[in-house]
Subunit: 217 residues, 2 copies
Amino acid sequence: MALEQSPWKDASGREADRSEKRDAVLRVAAQSFCERGVRATSLDDVAERLNITKPTIYHYFRNKDEILVACVARGLAMIDDAVAQADREALSALDRLRAALRRYAEVMTMDFGMCVTRISEPDLSEEGRARFRDGKRKIDERVRDLLRACIREGSIRPCDVVLATFTITGALNWIARWYDPDGPLTGEEIGERMVAMLLAGFAAPAPPRGTEAGEAG
Amino acid sequence: MALEQSPWKDASGREADRSEKRDAVLRVAAQSFCERGVRATSLDDVAERLNITKPTIYHYFRNKDEILVACVARGLAMIDDAVAQADREALSALDRLRAALRRYAEVMTMDFGMCVTRISEPDLSEEGRARFRDGKRKIDERVRDLLRACIREGSIRPCDVVLATFTITGALNWIARWYDPDGPLTGEEIGERMVAMLLAGFAAPAPPRGTEAGEAG
DNA sequence: TATGCTCTATACTCGGGAGTAAGCAAGCGG
DNA sequence: CCGCTTGCTTACTCCCGAGTATAGAGCATA
């Protein structure tokens, strides 16, 4: 089941460079980890999809766990970058929060991002687990800080910031479980709408009258 | 690592009944599936925790998949019951929604409930997967129906019901990933607060006209 | 041509876990 | 007492997948 994207041509491989090959392994592994689960992903399968054999993979990675850790690390970095980048943009705290969460949502529709939420801790080695927890904790911290900034600014209602972060990231993380690239919404659209929903809440504005909230126009 | 809860006494087992033993197997298996992952859970381990040996398990279940399916089915049933029960109570649609989501959240802090969100489809056999999807679809349908009823009633803002359901159930499902029984909040408290947050949203109410909410000073 | 490095393949080892074979113990009907 | 069933055991088989030993192919230097 060879993929076209593989940098190993069927018999001749020469222009390709080492890190490009590492990347290809990670990309295919990440997809398989998400689709089939980590334990159910054999390196033989990964190799086959790349027109190579398992020992070749061991020229680029020490073992399966190193591949898994690299996938998760890449996903975590993508989320962290997304949030950090939004954070640097000198807008209001609320705008920074919005931008951060939207990008977060988008990353959840991508292979490496999905790894972060579909892989669970027992899949990782002891040491990989530590890095995983650490990366997630940092992202959580960023979101919490943003929330606190918004509360200080008055744009977010004072609340239990920890639980609020779990609620928000839970909704976003879950995207990785149901997102369908062939579905009606792109990652960007999902992010935009879901973040709007989370911020505005589902309850209708107080009075049973004044139904002006409808945006249908 | 024998557990006290096991109905198999170390050498003498007689007062226990078949279905009680089936239940015990499911309970321990569910815990292990959640803690270590499905593939990493060996039936030898499960047996050991119950003071029995693997072949004994095969007296009660045909194979590992049957156990897994039973765990997931039980979790799905708990969620479905929770939502259905709230649905039968003759309150306003909004109150029914609130009650349903709170109970949903609570189930997410229990072993079988956790199974539903921590187990992923590739862990299941083809046939188990079908039942899994079906069960989840039914629950989703119930939540969507509740949302629609609320919108008709005017208590929930008109919105994309499908995406709203994903957002809400995502936040709730994720509880199973971070809930800590030794943490500060009980399942009930988490449900109550998270549902309140989701309904009210995080954004601060529109600022009193004229004055921006610039606090501090 | 020789030496050596990098990349890749064939062909293994080895451990773990699902599932099974076959037998032992205990209760029950005769 | 015998023979049957039920519940459980010890002791396997067997497959799959992680990781390895080893060899060969291509290329660079000399």
